[in-house]
């Protein structure tokens, strides 16, 4: 069984795109081989900044032949007096089989002549040469380009192709490049072209040419980071998954140098130093045994070492200049206090239709004070004087040189400056620090993994800021769709949900968004706003999706539990989670499988009645014609409903659900004995009314008809 190798040689592919493209290429080739009946044992990938390669072991050298039995005309038609007729000749010609080779088969229509035809399988080489260009061309890139013809697109220019089945070149052409057996090694460390004999020698040949696979690069970098750090007693390099992935995909043959910077720079906040090192220079930070930053850094190189120390020296020079800049910005920024910067926000655009950050600040302050009121009414205590001030200053750091230079430090810089500056006289230090922390944290959480703000005040500010943005954008009709979410509104909404959950806040999403929308009243932006109904609807749909995501992907509830719970209400985050938790606890009880089935049945009955224009009665009455099971069920609802409601009010959802479970007996009996769609219109309407009430009672906590009863599947 031959091995197939494909290598797409390319100018440097952006690091962030390599892994996904490689996985996609693998998937495409696996699907192709399977579809063409060529699939082999295993497909491996090999990816570096300059190549995406696929190694498919043990593929078929050709498609297996297919033998088919083709049926022709009836024997009575095909032969006359034992001699073949024109019909038989025609069939033989069409199928390419000699008359003498024709067979006779019995069919339901009687005996027919028949030909056994073998379709020759095509060779793997032919199929791959024909199909691969399309597969390569359709790989998804977040941003692609053309360099020859506008119709030929790839992430960067393709410069060579290797395509081999064992040692044989697959005659493939892509964007003007003909495949061969010649690859290229490391840009600097290897000069001659690398000739590849077959897929099995590929990895070894590239290693000789100083090109390593992804896993090996990662391993090598980790080891080199460890080794370099060990030269400083007690030191540790700061683990950073995203950074590691980046440097792995920026190198073909990595090594590491340890550099140092002047310890004087340690007087700058650690956040600033680490951001410069990580985001701007792609360096790893080094901590001492207590997690305190040391004046060292680790740079990952795309070469085999730095024997003369030139590379270390160069990197130290660059970092020194960057730190000097940061220090200069820090000092310059102190000349204007955050308090004075509030006014400067009049000149900073928030969004072209939504006005400036000054206006946003005012809205967020107002929204936060409403939110605080609700929270206080529910008994949580909020430190006075913090949120209002933090709200006022939260965006002022956008006017600082430091944030203009290092935008990813927004919020953090504001927090650091608020701590370092006096602010208003008479503000106690503890309050000032609380203000600083709230500002520092107010962009959090920036991802599903990120922490929520450390204080309740920071949490409120975080919610207010995000809700204001979402409301403004939705009011303008700028709703995220598909992969388009330029303002990261989904991430911000996820943040709101997470903060509400973690702080157990009594907020209703629709009220929050209504209040946030109200903040724009009488602003010029309003003229461009969509109408209120459209706004409410789109916001509601959006947050329901976010809550669904949170419950499923972050909290790990099964999808049917999530759907059942959210169908009964998706407005109150904390309450939804409580209901989901209760439902998960009782779901194993057989009663709920039965209740779920009953709910589905009731829904169907009510829907069919509605379609036929049959109205349920206003409410159930005990009629002389009522069946005993009907009366029992009605009595059961009547007794249980207030009890369930009482438990529900106390948010004892598990208790309420257990009580609902006791309804199963009467429900089953009802469906066993009672015919809902009775002849008598009065009886029928009465029974429909009963079912409607029952469904309503069942559905206050969750919509049980969403529960998947058989073969419970887990989505995550």
């Amino acid at each position: 069984m031959p091995d197939f190798l494909l290598e797409i040689g390319c100018e440097e592919i952006p690091a962030r795109m390599i892994d996904a493209a490689s996985a996609e290429l693998r998937e495409r080739i696996a699907t192709l081989l399977k579809r063409e009946r060529l699939a082999g044992a295993e497909i491996r990938t090999f990816e570096t900044p300059r190549r995406l390669a696929i190694l498919a072991e043990g593929i078929a050298s050709a498609q297996p032949d297919i033998t088919e039995q083709l049926t022709g005309p009836a024997v009575t038609v095909a032969y006359k007096d034992g001699q073949p007729t024109p019909a038989a000749h025609g069939f033989a010609k069409k199928t390419g089989v000699e008359i003498a080779q024709l067979e006779i088969v019995s069919t339901p229509k009687g005996d027919c002549i028949s030909a056994r035809v073998t379709k020759k399988g095509r060779s793997a080489s032919e199929i791959l040469a024909e199909s691969l260009p399309r597969e390569i061309a359709t790989i998804y890139w977040p941003k692609n380009m053309y360099w020859r013809k506008p119709t030929e697109r790839f992430v960067r220019p393709v410069r060579w192709l290797v395509a081999l089945i064992d040692g044989e070149v697959v005659p493939l052409e892509f964007d003007g490049i003909h495949a061969g057996n010649s690859s290229r090694g490391h840009r600097i460390l290897s000069h001659a072209n690398v000739s590849i004999r077959s897929g099995s020698t590929y990895v070894g040949a590239l290693r000789d040419a100083k090109v390593l696979g992804r896993a090996e690069r990662e391993h090598r970098i980790r080891k080199a980071l460890d080794a370099a750090t060990r030269t400083i007693p007690g030191a540790r390099w700061r683990e950073d998954k995203a950074l590691l992935e980046t440097v792995v995909n920026l190198t073909e043959y990595p090594s590491v140098v340890l550099g140092s910077f002047d310890a004087q720079f340690l007087s700058l906040p650690e956040e600033v130093l680490v951001t410069v090192m990580r985001d701007h220079q792609k360096y790893f930070a080094v901590d001492d045994a207590n997690g305190k930053l040391l004046p060292h850094f680790l740079a990952v190189l795309n070469t085999d070492g730095d024997p003369q120390g030139l590379i270390r020296h160069g990197n130290e020079r660059v970092l020194r200049a960057r730190f000097n800049d940061a220090r200069f910005f820090w000092q310059t920024d102190q000349k204007i206090s955050l308090l004075d910067r509030l006014d400067l926000l009049r000149h900073v655009t928030f969004q072209k239709d939504l006005g400036t950050y000054f206006e946003k600040t005012k809205r967020v302050q107002r929204l936060c004070s409403w939110v605080s009121e609700i929270i206080k009414q529910h008994g949580q205590s909020i430190r006075p004087g913090v949120i209002h001030k933090a709200g006022a200053l939260a965006k002022t750091d956008l006017t600082t040189e430091l944030v203009k230079e290092f935008t990813e430090l927004q919020g953090i810089v504001g927090g650091l400056y608020a701590r370092a500056q006096e602010l208003d006289s008479g503000v106690p230090e503890a309050t000032r620090f609380a203000i600083a922390d709230a500002i520092y944290d107010h962009y959090k959480p920036e991802s599903t993994e990120d922490d929520v703000p450390r204080s309740l005040e920071g949490a409120v500010l975080s919610i207010g800021d995000k809700a204001d943005t979402i409301a403004g954008m939705f009011a303008l009709g700028l709703v995220p769709s598909g992969s388009k979410d330029p303002f990261a509104l989904r991430r911000q909404a996820n943040g709101i949900v997470k903060v509400i959950d973690k702080y157990n806040l009594p907020l209703r999403l629709h009220e929050l968004m209504r209040d946030a929308r109200a903040g724009y009243q009488r602003s010029p932006a309003e003229r461009k706003f969509v109408d209120d109904d459209k706004f409410s609807y789109s916001v509601k749909t959006f947050f329901r999706e976010r809550l669904e995501f949170y419950l499923k992907d972050v909290r790990g509830y099964p999808y049917d539990v999530v759907n059942a719970v959210l169908s009964a209400g998706a407005d109150d985050v904390v309450d939804s989670i409580a209901r989901a938790e209760a439902l998960r606890q009782v779901l194993h009880m057989p009663e709920f499988a039965a209740i779920g089935a009953a709910c589905k049945r009731i829904r169907n009955i009510l829907r069919q009645a509605e379609e036929k224009g049959i109205e349920p009665a206003k409410e159930f009455e005990s009629l002389p014609q009522s069946a005993p099971e009907e009366k029992d069920l009605a009595a059961c609802i009547e007794t249980n409903a207030p009890l369930v409601e009482a438990l529900r009010k106390k948010r004892d959802y598990a208790g309420a659900l257990r009580l609902l479970a006791t309804t199963r007996g009467p429900v089953d009996a009802f469906f066993d004995k009672v015919m809902v769609m009775a002849e008598d219109a009065g009886v029928r309407a009465n029974r429909l009314a009963l079912l409607r009430t029952l469904l309503k009672e069942f559905s206050t906590i969750a919509d049980f008809s969403e529960i998947v009863t058989e073969a419970k599947t887990q989505t995550n």
């Binding site: 100018e11 506008p150 360096y283 190189l301």
Partner: protein, 343 residues
């Protein structure tokens, strides 16, 4: 380490070596454009030459003015006016990256002893309605070059595309000479006396005085007036071009009017507007609400000029290829009708 020795290239030697390198590879050596620009891309040798089908290779130094980046000569890493060495290769040769790396060797960088990386960096200039994809080239952690495959310019999809290499000369010189301040770069060294003239000796006064002008002294009202005047003249020219195209397509035989039309002059006026906008911006004279609008005004000029230039080139090429066969001229399909420019 003694790299700041007299052996390392002076600033002017750096320029000379790079120019010689690219001249040897067939580039026209142009001189810096003599109207203020914010980047080498804005010089017509790039902005206009990348349009249309004609192959072209050019290299030039371009002093690039960015008023808001001025620091009164007090910051060792930042300048109001820095120097770029700009190379345009149209179409890009297949070995363009290798050529670029050779150019680094030509200025004395031993690639084997350093760390070179091509890191994704896509370039976009909304005022020029231009963009491309490419990399920032990192040398030992320092960004020394912007390497871009142009895809669109002046709103026009390019065919063929061009590769643009923009060398940051001050950074490279500071790296080669191992100095921490731009102002300490040795610009020239007298071969007889060995006396060095430094970057600061040559340029510090510009940095100081233009920072004062751009941040403090520029008369806002007059600068606006200049802007309006340049814009009006540029627009008038573009409208003139559009109407001569209309006349031509109406077939009154004035074809030569479009070919001698001063699109290049219109572009100078557009560059003036761009620079004046930058001064007003540095001066803090453009409010938030105005800003987007003013950028759109400059972009409208740039896009209109690009269209007119591309049209002019197309006509010229069509006429040149028609000349030897005047008979065919009658039967050649009518020129594609051009939408009014400058809108």
């Amino acid at each position: 380490m003694n790299r700041a020795s007299t052996k390392s290239l002076t600033f002017q030697e750096l320029v000379l070596r790079l120019q010689a390198f690219w001249a040897d590879r067939g580039c026209v050596l142009q001189q810096p454009y003599d109207v203020e620009v914010g980047a080498g891309t804005m010089a017509p040798e790039t902005f206009l030459r990348v349009l249309g089908p004609r192959p072209y290779k050019v290299a030039y130094v371009q002093p690039s003015r960015r008023p808001a980046d001025g620091r009164y000569g007090e910051n060792p890493n930042r300048l109001f006016k820095h120097m770029q060495l700009q190379v345009i290769l149209k179409p890009p040769p297949e070995n363009v990256q290798e050529l670029y790396l050779q150019s680094l060797e030509a200025i004395g960088i031993d690639l084997r002893a350093h760390d070179v990386k091509f890191e994704e960096d896509n370039w976009e200039a909304p005022t020029l309605s231009a963009w491309g994809v490419g990399w920032q080239v990192m040398l030992d952690g320092l960004e020394i070059t912007q390497f871009t495959y142009f895809q669109q310019c002046g709103g026009i999809d390019l065919f063929p595309i061009s590769a643009e290499l923009t060398y940051g000369l001050e950074r490279i010189a500071a790296f080669l000479q191992d100095v921490d301040s731009i102002y300490d770069i040795v610009w020239a060294r007298d071969p007889e006396t060995g006396n060095a003239v430094k970057y600061g000796d040559v340029r510090l006064a510009d940095e100081q005085q233009f920072s004062v002008y751009n941040f403090e002294a520029a008369d806002v009202e007059k600068t606006w007036k200049h802007f309006d005047l340049y814009e009006a003249e540029c627009k008038a020219l573009l409208e003139g071009y559009a109407s001569s195209v209309r006349e031509k397509s109406a077939g009154d035989g004035k074809a030569h009017e479009t070919s001698r039309f001063p699109v290049l002059a219109a572009y100078d006026l557009c560059l003036k507007c761009s620079h004046l906008f930058n001064i007003l911006d540095a001066r803090g004279a453009i409010s938030v609400t105005e800003r987007v609008g003013v950028i759109a005004r400059v972009r409208a000029l740039a896009v209109g000029i690009a269209k007119a230039w591309a049209d002019q080139q197309r006509t010229e090429i069509a006429e040149a290829s028609d000349e030897p066969e005047p008979v065919r001229h009658k039967h050649s399909p009518p020129q594609e009708k051009l939408a009014p420019v400058g809108t």
